[in-house]
Symmetry: D2
Subunit: 344 residues, 4 copies
């Protein structure tokens, strides 16, 4: 089968790879209808996340189950399904606590030996371990574009809000309006946020956030602190989300959040970084960090999609054939695309 493989710095290639085969009772094989190119794929592309040359990448997929072990009972052969970007065993100590994102046996699709040696989903087929954990039926009438978001980008935006403890009636600031930030905007509003401020410096992203119901705030042409202070009676927002994963938006999030509020950091921070620790302490903030627990969220996310309360469809800017993956990565890397969907 054909698959998108990492070759080296800023080089991906569509290659012929062997078809996957079942090797355990709880595995399934999915024939991929569509896979997404995600911001975290660029970490691989730029060599920041080490992946072996020739390894299949990609971790967002929608497709049809073509084979399933006898232990798979949440989906069946023939089902149209969406996958989560990682798998979890369901029985280790973290899994029993519901912390599927920290599963002791967790593996991430398309991230090389480093993250579980699990071949990726930008391919014609993908092998899915622990299929009961990682696959869900796509509800009737939901488009492939929309379903594709549930197991990764939208699951992450939703987690930022849910794990951040947002309650109906809260005010929220989202820092960074890439696909994850835009999905966080939708998730906050779906859960009853009374005001969501979307902060970025790209006009198109601000415009899309506004279409989704957010109050757009330009990062540099406006003064986010002043805008949000004015709009919240001087208090700041109940919850801020750093959807970028960088110390600068995290610092801004700290300053935008009300006393005893929460900052949700879902973007991938790295190494040591300087943060406004004194201010965060003075404000008695709760900083909730980490990769999204999409397995814990996906059923709610799909239910909200089905109810029409979440609709990430407009975020897709490009559809391209799998064969043109190299070009897709180049476009995406130049930030000319907001979201690219690949079809085999």
């Amino acid at each position: 089968m054909r698959a998108v493989t990492f070759q080296g710095l800023e080089e991906v290639r569509v290659e012929e790879k062997p078809e996957p085969e079942l090797s355990a009772a709880d595995e399934a094989i999915v024939r991929v209808e569509a896979s997404g190119v995600c911001g975290s794929d660029l970490h691989i592309y730029h060599g920041r996340v080490p992946v072996e040359p020739g390894f299949t990448i990609g971790h967002e997929f929608v497709g049809t189950v073509t084979a399933a072990g006898e232990g798979v009972d949440r989906v069946a052969v023939g089902d149209r399904v969406v996958g989560t970007f990682f798998t979890a065993c369901g029985t280790c100590a973290p899994c029993l606590r519901g912390e599927y994102n920290r599963c002791a046996n967790g593996r991430t699709f398309g991230h090389g030996a480093h993250l579980g040696n699990l071949e990726g989903a930008q391919a014609e087929q993908v092998l899915v371990p622990h299929a009961n954990m990682s696959l869900r039926r796509v509800p009737e009438g939901i488009s492939t574009d929309v379903a594709l978001f549930a197991g990764d980008v939208l699951g992450t935006g939703f987690h930022a809000i849910a794990h951040g403890g947002m309650r109906a009636g809260d005010t929220v600031a989202i820092l960074g309006l890439g696909p994850v930030g835009l999905c966080a905007v939708q998730s906050a509003l779906a859960g009853g946020a009374v005001r969501v401020f979307g902060i970025d410096s790209v006009e198109e992203r601000l415009a899309m956030a506004a279409e989704f119901g957010a109050t757009p705030v330009h990062l540099t042409e406006q003064d986010p602190k002043r805008e949000i202070r004015a709009a919240t009676g001087g208090a700041g927002v109940d919850l801020s989300v750093d959807a970028v994963g960088h110390p600068d938006p995290l610092a801004l999030a700290v300053s935008l959040t009300r006393d005893a509020g929460t900052v949700s950091g879902i973007g991938a921070y790295s190494g040591r970084a300087e943060v406004p620790l004194g201010l965060a302490w003075l404000k008695c903030l709760d900083l909730r960090l980490g990769v999204a627990n999409v397995i814990a969220q996906i059923d709610r996310v799909l239910a909200l999609i089905e109810a029409g309360k979440l609709d990430p469809g407009p975020i897709v800017s490009h559809h391209m054939p799998l064969a043109e993956a190299a070009e897709a990565y180049r476009i995406f890397d130049r930030r000319e695309a907001l979201k690219i969907v690949l079809t085999p």
Copy 2:
């Protein structure tokens, strides 16, 4: 000033009463613009809740602050305000735990000596103890009809959902579509419920619930258990609300709720009653009972009203002058009105 007083079984009368005067630093006086007639007023009307003859009744009000003690800092003279149906001291052990509905010094407006000897709000003026706890400014542009709900009926419907632990993506059943039930429908949807079933046997109420976004289910002409089972893949809803306060809807709520789900009982139960204890145990349900903690909810409720996410206005069916209070109670008692607003 004129005030609606309880006289005896099914008899209320508009009488002349002395104007209230401030006697403590944290009190305020409100000139009432509008007061509501509420289902719980009928408990007094029918003698089920004992109130002394001549006592002013009513516990829902919107008006303007005309006097305030020096300790009042959350509202000021001249402010247009809405009141909560009870007051709380803010400093006793239950209040420090946030359980304002069980304040050791709590008093309910218009419920006689039994509930704190606090004269009611169906009058031209009302004295408000602990005004920082019980009064909130009405946001700009909000009508009197809508604001009137925030401190009682809508606060109660919202509490049923919030205290019931509802999360975005949940399914909910509301049993009883009087004003509180209809407000619970709105609150559930505002907080991200994906499906809300509104159950009643009155067509007009079912129709209004449907307008608000609920799936109407006729209590007797349909089979609620079958309908909800079918719509939830056999599981039942995450949260059921008994908005009536009677063992029958409570029993139905138990049967409609999924395993390990929650039943929120906000209606006023009385005495001992037979309940399906075995089924509730088998299902591992959490039954959360009690009068609504509206002081804890009112800021969120007003924010959601201001954001346009809650709008109880359509529930008001009648506007009548305070002078016609006796007729208002007769109409309301005959169930010819869904909600009556009295204006002095």
Copy 3:
């Protein structure tokens, strides 16, 4: 192998049964060192829980793993282990929410076709499905008697406290001082309860509760309401546990609990029953009902046993050989034993 089988009303018999065999990758076989006779076994003995004649009963066991499928990674052949009284799949919707006690595929040991058709543990060997969920290594130095409690009786007492939301500094009442109630006493004190009232009418049980640190209150010779009111400044306890499973202790629990407190009902209620609904509503209580989620609790319970903070050993009153199971059931049924441990 030999196994204790249910034969009919008040009749159990030790019979020869075929040895269990592995049939799935996540199963294990345990050679039983000790099994317990539990209060819920009496429900079977008296025919209140239907079990097929010839079915092996018993659901508490400690033993050594003699075989394990390739998917079993939390225990290994040769490990000394304790089992939970039920199994769960780990991947259904309730399991993903952590509600292992309501697993869609859950099975209870030794309770017949009705509860999953899983042969019991009062036998020389027991087959354990989903072994990663249901088996845990017994920490070094823990006796068989003590370990035996972790997966059933102590797990249940601990759940009553933990699921009841108890916090350090709380006051607690335990109604019914059988093995589960005594374990709830220990669990409350281990978690920082400042005062635990143990209520029963059997002197020996009251004495044991007192040894464990509780304040004993005789159900009929004292007035529990007056005692607890006096000891809590009139307020009542933060948490009451009905460890019996009957409407009478539940009603007493409601009256002993403070406003906005919690009643935890872990005993098995059946059918419809009369409860003081009005009082529970007036007090704004939270009633948390249902069978214990021991899979969620067992790791904590074992850690607390290992730390010496829980020690149910003194509850064991009798050790008997498996061969004398019929006599053991008779003794237990006559309430002449508090806890019987059977050894093959």
Copy 4:
């Protein structure tokens, strides 16, 4: 009356000051029996927290109520009481959410105009605003030394554990074994921690932590990461507390905490600081920062003291007369005393 006043860098003096007088209905005056010298007093002493020369300092006190306004109902004239280190109004938006430590009208005793202009408690008398919030009766039989801790140092140690979400069965690391850290050790064990690691480099403090039940770990002579990894099966602790308030122990706390665990930072951080953000994100940690909410905790803390489950008495190393305050500060500043109690 005599009072300890700040005079300038590293200079305090006992001066004659006017006696306090009641000016509001919810105030009380306390004749001080004992006041504590606290680590945060050294921030003033060293000029890091700006206080006006001549201002009375000190924020820990036990004494007797000598006067109380008519709105004071939780304590009465003649009561022996302990105070919390700050006051809160009880009615602002943060207070209604229970966030008394972020009260919009909050004032801290003895911290100058900057923190509310409230004269301190190292004096013969102290004026207590919002006395219902800030004063509690000392339970019978509790010594002055022990009671003194409840409203500040022990309330802070307890908050670190409670706000950190610790549950019975958890493992905990406490970084820094000054009075707050030692109180956190006691609080963790009282709440059911199965293992508490106390980390410091001062032998006496390690020894006291060990007496309290902790496992002492020397910061430099041992390798805390290796010790804790070995003792927790490689996982790390469920909760780490930085009781110092410095980026170094915070970084160590991040490395000692298990995936999806919690770090509680109660020490006073200042300014911007470098933290291991990447590791905290990778581990999905929750960082809960801020000054302790002692008003929310004091009733539990006193109940645990009364029950004998908390006993900070051994932490007091010195008793000195108020008149020798200047010498007391010098000794404390040279770290020759663990805790000094001043008596007028």
